[in-house]
Symmetry: C2
Subunit: 388 residues, 2 copies
C-alpha cells in the first residue's frame, strides 16, 4: 500500500512545478493520476492548490475512498451549487491534463469556475510521474520478478499445433493466478491492449497499436493480440506481456521456437541483443531520448535490417522504448522528436524488434530503471530464445 509520505512528496513535487509555472492549482480528474497522488482509485477529483492543502472530492465510493485516501481533507463530491465556493477568487489559473480529460468534463469544470484560465499540464504531469520514487522502484522490481516467474512456465504448455489464442489463454490464466491485475492502462486516446500478445503466424500483421507488433487479433473489431491461427514449428513465437501488481506495470518479451529458426532470424535476434546492450549501457541520466533511438536505428541499418526495424517495411514505429509504470505508455519515449534527457528513476521498457513480412517477428524486451550506472534490469530472466 502506498504510504502517506509517498503521497505528500508527490504533491510537493506537483506544487513546486505549479508555482514555477505561475499556475494557482491543478484539478486532477483522471483516475490514475488521482491514485498516484492520493492512494485511492475511487471515482474522485483532486484539487491541489499551488500553496496549501489538497482536497479530494469523491463521487463513488466515498466510504472506500475514506479508508484508502492519504489526503487529510477527503469529502463527498459537492453539489454544483457548493462547488464554486471551494475555490477562492485568488485562484485564477487552473491546470488540467488536456491529453486525457474529455471535452465534457472540461466544460463542466469551466462552468463551475467561471472567469478562470485553464492551462494544459499534461506534459509536466507525465514528466513528474515518469520519475519513480524508491518505493515505486521496489514495486516495479516486484512486478518484474512476478512476471518473469510466469514466463518461466511457458515451456510447460507451449506446443506446436495449438492456436495463438490457446497459448494466450494458458499464459493469462497463470498470470492472473500469480496476482496480475489484468487491466492495462494506456494514456493515449486511441490505444488499447488486452494484457499482451501471444503471436506467431500473425505476428507480422501491421496494426493500430503504437508498437512494433500488433498481431491480427480475433476480429477487425479487436484487431490486436492472439488469433485463431495455429502455431507452427520452426517459426518464432513471440510472447509480449505485461504484469500488473499494485498498479505497477512491467513489460517484457521473449521468443520461443519449437524446433529451429533460420539464420536470418538468429542474425536479427543477435542484433536486437546488441541494440539492447548499447541502450542499457547508456540508460543514464542526461542521455537524450531521440539520440538513443537514432543510434539504435543506425545499428539496425548496419546489420542490414533497417527496413525491418520496429515494424514491417513502411510500417516502422519510430521508437525503441517507452516509459512504463501505472500506465503502459508513460514518459519518456526513446523516439524521434523526444529531445528530453533521461532522469534517474525513470523506468523504461526497451524493445528492439524486427518484423520480417511473411515470416515472423523476433526481438527482445525488458523493463529497466535509469541509473547512473546504466539500466537496471527489472525483469530478471535470461534473454535467450527458448528452443523446445
Amino acid at each position: 500500500m502506498m504510504t502517506k509520505m509517498e503521497s505528500e512528496q508527490r504533491i510537493i513535487r506537483l506544487q513546486t512545478e505549479l508555482r514555477a509555472k505561475g499556475i494557482d492549482g491543478a484539478l486532477i480528474i483522471y483516475p490514475i493520476d488521482v491514485y498516484y497522488f492520493t492512494g485511492t482509485r475511487q471515482n474522485a477529483t483532486l484539487w491541489v492548490p499551488a500553496d496549501g492543502n489538497p482536497l479530494l472530492l469523491v463521487r463513488k465510493s466515498y466510504s472506500r475512498a475514506v479508508k484508502e485516501s492519504l489526503i487529510e481533507d477527503t469529502r463527498p463530491f459537492p453539489s454544483s451549487k457548493e462547488f464554486p465556493a471551494l475555490f477562492p477568487d485568488s485562484v485564477r489559473k487552473v491546470g488540467i491534463t488536456f491529453d486525457i480529460v474529455p471535452v465534457q468534463q472540461y466544460n463542466y469544470y469551466a462552468k463551475m469556475l467561471p472567469g478562470r484560465e485553464f492551462v494544459d499540464i499534461s506534459g509536466s504531469n507525465r514528466e513528474l510521474r515518469s520519475v519513480k520514487s524508491t518505493w515505486e522502484l521496489e514495486r516495479m522490481r516486484e512486478s518484474g520478478a512476478r512476471l518473469s516467474e510466469v514466463f518461466t512456465q511457458i515451456p510447460s504448455f507451449l506446443k506446436a499445433g495449438m492456436r495463438e489464442i490457446d497459448l494466450a489463454a494458458e499464459f493469462e490464466c497463470r498470470l492472473r493466478r500469480a496476482g496480475s491485475e489484468g487491466y492495462v492502462r494506456m494514456r493515449a486516446f486511441n490505444q488499447e491492449l488486452f494484457q499482451g500478445l501471444a503471436v506467431s503466424a500473425t505476428a507480422d500483421q501491421p496494426g493500430f497499436f503504437d508498437g512494433a507488433v500488433t498481431g491480427r487479433g480475433l476480429s477487425p473489431a479487436s484487431p490486436h493480440g492472439a488469433s485463431l491461427e495455429v502455431i507452427e514449428p520452426n517459426s518464432p513465437v513471440l510472447m509480449d506481456f505485461t504484469g500488473i501488481f499494485q498498479g505497477y506495470i512491467v513489460d517484457m518479451t521473449r521468443i520461443f521456437a519449437i524446433g529451429t529458426l533460420s539464420p536470418e532470424f538468429l542474425h536479427a535476434f543477435d542484433t536486437a541483443l546488441s541494440i539492447q546492450r548499447y541502450l542499457v549501457d547508456n540508460l543514464k541520466p542526461g542521455a537524450i531520448c531521440e539520440e538513443l533511438f537514432a543510434k539504435s536505428l543506425e545499428m539496425a541499418e548496419a546489420a542490414g535490417l533497417g527496413g525491418n526495424y520496429m515494424g514491417a517495411p513502411g510500417e516502422n514505429a519510430k521508437f525503441v522504448g517507452h516509459g512504463v509504470g501505472l500506465e503502459l505508455d508513460e514518459f519518456p519515449v526513446l523516439a524521434q522528436g523526444f529531445k528530453m534527457p533521461l532522469q534517474a528513476g525513470q523506468t523504461i521498457a526497451i524493445e528492439p524488434k524486427f518484423v520480417i513480412p511473411g515470416q515472423g517477428v523476433i526481438g527482445i524486451e525488458n523493463t529497466f530503471a535509469v541509473t547512473r550506472g546504466g539500466g537496471e534490469k527489472l525483469t530478471p530472466l535470461a534473454d535467450d530464445i527458448v528452443f523446445l
Copy 2:
C-alpha cells in the same frame, strides 16, 4: 465481418440526424465509433458530411485499414497543411462527441478548422448506436450463446477453499479459449472493467464501479473484481462476466453456492427474478426507462429489500439495466433521470441485485433485446442458482 450495407445504413442514419440538427458534418474520432461506421478499428478519423460521401483518414495502419474499411474514400491521414483543404468553406458547424474526445484532440481539430463552430453530438451518437440492426442482433445472439456455454463449465472448477482470483483465472482462461476478445470497452471516462467479477467474500465491498457490485480487487490501484480471499461454503459466489465476439459484448451474472444459502438470500434471489420478469415483460418500444427502474425499486421495497437494492445501504446505484453492444455502458440506461422511451432493437443488460453487507451479494443478470413482444433473452442459460 461487417458488411458494406451495414456501414452505409449507419452512415445514412447519422447523416439524417445531422441534417435534422442543422449540423454540416461529424468528425468521428473515437476508435469504437470509427469501427461502428467503417468496419475498421485502426487509428483513424472519419469525416461524415451531412450530404455526400464519408472520408476515412488513417494514421495507422493504413495498409490494414484499406483491407478492412467499408468506406470507399479511405486515405492516409493528411499533413496539417493539407488537412484544412479537405473541408469546404460551406462546412460551418461540426459535430464531435464531447463525452469521450480529450481536450487536446478537440483543440487539434479546432485549430485545423478555424472559424467553425463545434457542437456536442455525444447524446445523439449514443442513441443512434443503441438501436441494433438485424446483423448486430445476430452478433449479440452469438455472443450470448458463446458466453452462456462458458458459464456451463463453472461447476467443473469451482471449489470451496479456492481464492476468488483462482476462480477468475479458470473462468477467464475458458472464456479466451472460446474466443472472447477480452478488452471491455467502456465509454465513461472514469470506468474500467477487466472482463468481469468473480467474487464471494468481497462481493459486498463498495467501489468506484457504476454498478451494484465492484468487489475488492487485488489492490487499491485496481480496486475491482476478484481478490485473494478464499471462497467459503454456504455463501453466494457471484460470477458476473462479459463475453466479446466480433466486438459485441454481452453481460451476464449467475449465482453459485457450495452447500446451501440462507432463507434471506433465497428471498432476495426470488425478488431479483420477479423484478427481471416484470422488466422483461415490459421491455417493449415506448416503455420509459426511468419508470421501469422506479417500478423495480418499488418491487424491491415491497420485498423489504429497498435498502439493499443495487448496492449496500447508502451506496445504492440508481439503475437496474444498461445498454450493451460495442461498449459495456451504452444507451439506454434503466435509471432515474432517463426519460427516453425504449426502441425496438436496443440491447440491454438487466441486473437486479441485492447487497447484504457482511454477508454477500445475490441477483441475476441477462442481456435482452427490446422487441414488441417484450425482452428477447440473448444469454440462453437457466437463471437458477447452481448448488454444488
